[in-house]
């Protein structure tokens, strides 16, 4: 493939993500008014929720490609399923960290066992980690791709069941801070939230494209090595 001076998709996406992130940070720290109850530090919400939503999106994307892989057997879909899941672990870790900080702000403890969202997320994060362990335990090849896809699809069953289980296992509705914000967000809050969400999603997309580009190079390299060996 000819190497042109045009921006490739990964670089373009990174530029977009960087701009949106800059905008989001500016809005979060300087524009949006402080929360009435929790003050300045409540702003972590504008990071936490978009990151959480991005994690779920990444998972959906990974699971979709897993299903496509099993259906068609196309090798490239394995990577397209694995990379979103892998990014999901990263974003998931950030969700847990920001969630922990938020719990500390709200309740003074570093985790909120009463929060449905956090508990559901914990289950899903553990699932992501297990997916990773599976990936590490099997040699690269068709079998690893198949197993990864099967496990990713099992996760599709896990998520709604986890949401439901956490919900029905709890007594009273633990007052969740972002509820009150979610419904009653005013204009500036909503704008900031949307920009932050767009920023996180575009960050995920750019990381996806960069990682895919890197992995394609790796595969091409391995392929060339194989061809060289066979020719020798």
């Amino acid at each position: 493939m000819p190497h042109t001076a045009r921006l490739d998709r990964a670089t373009a996406a990174t530029l977009v993500a960087a701009s949106l992130m800059a905008a989001a940070v500016a809005l979060i720290f300087f524009y949006v008014p402080s929360d009435v109850d929790q003050g300045y530090s409540q702003r972590i919400f504008y990071f936490h929720v978009p990151i959480a939503l991005t994690t779920y999106t990444l998972f959906a994307w990974g699971a979709l490609n897993a299903a496509r892989y099993l259906w068609t057997g196309r090798e490239d879909l394995d990577l397209k399923s694995y990379v979103p899941m892998h990014l999901g672990v990263i974003f998931g870790s950030l969700t847990l960290v920001t969630g922990s900080i938020w719990a500390h702000i709200s309740w003074g403890t570093w985790w909120d066992w009463g929060s449905r969202e956090l508990n559901t997320f914990l289950i899903i994060f553990l699932f992501y980690c297990a997916y990773f362990m599976l990936r590490f335990s099997v040699e690269p090849g068709a079998r690893r791709s198949r197993y990864s896809a099967v496990y990713a699809l099992l996760g599709v069953g896990l998520i709604p069941l986890s949401v439901l289980a956490v919900r029905i296992a709890q007594d009273a509705l633990h007052p969740i801070v972002f509820r009150s914000n979610g419904v009653n967000m005013d204009g500036s809050m909503f704008l900031t939230f949307c920009v932050a969400l767009a920023a996180m999603l575009s960050l995920a997309v750019s990381m996806y494209l960069v990682e895919m580009r890197g992995k394609r190079v790796d595969e091409r390299l391995a392929q060339l090595r194989r061809l060289a060996q066979e020719a020798a």
Partner: protein, 227 residues
Amino acid sequence: MNARALRALVRKDLLLELRGREVVPSMAVFVAAAFVLFRFGLGGTDLAGGTRAATGMLWVAIVFTALVGLSRSFAHEREGGTWDGLLAAPVDRALFWAARTCSTFLFLAAVQVVALPAFWLFFLQEHAGPSYPVLVAAVLLADVGIACLGSLLAGLASSVRAREVLLPTLFLPFSIPLVLTAVRVTTDTIPPQTGGLDTLGRLGFLALYDTVFALLGWALFEYVVED
């Protein structure tokens, strides 16, 4: 659905277990030892947390005992090299999963025939326990879900070198919603509480869990065994 083939496969599993006696006795010993451990862990003479804590621990014991049994799923096929014979046969691959699920359920139920009385003996002497019909219903429903999902994951882990570590790792995240609900449904029937409509709802969740993983197990097993 090839009923004759399914019966033959389940019969094979049961015969092998009857003659080999590997899985069920080990699980029974394991669960008894776990109860002793939990009793001492919870305080020994005085039960810290009372019956509620003990009932919670019962579910933890059930999950870990199941894992002990699941690790031997497909061991006969793997070690005896008989997979090729089965895979060459003109039956739907999902049938192997279905048969393994049935056998696993039977093994789990067999162990629990021992485990539940043991649980009563170790933990429910001092105080009142949960409603026994609810407990048994919850245990049986949980067994189905564990068997469905466990058979699929055991098939997957069976051909991986690190299978003893991998199977628990893969399985445990899925056991969390199960245990969450099962603990709730059983502890809610400990006097003075009586459960009620919520209990039915939570048992219904367990049935939903079973359905989801039965469908997924049926659909996905062929991708696990094909090479």
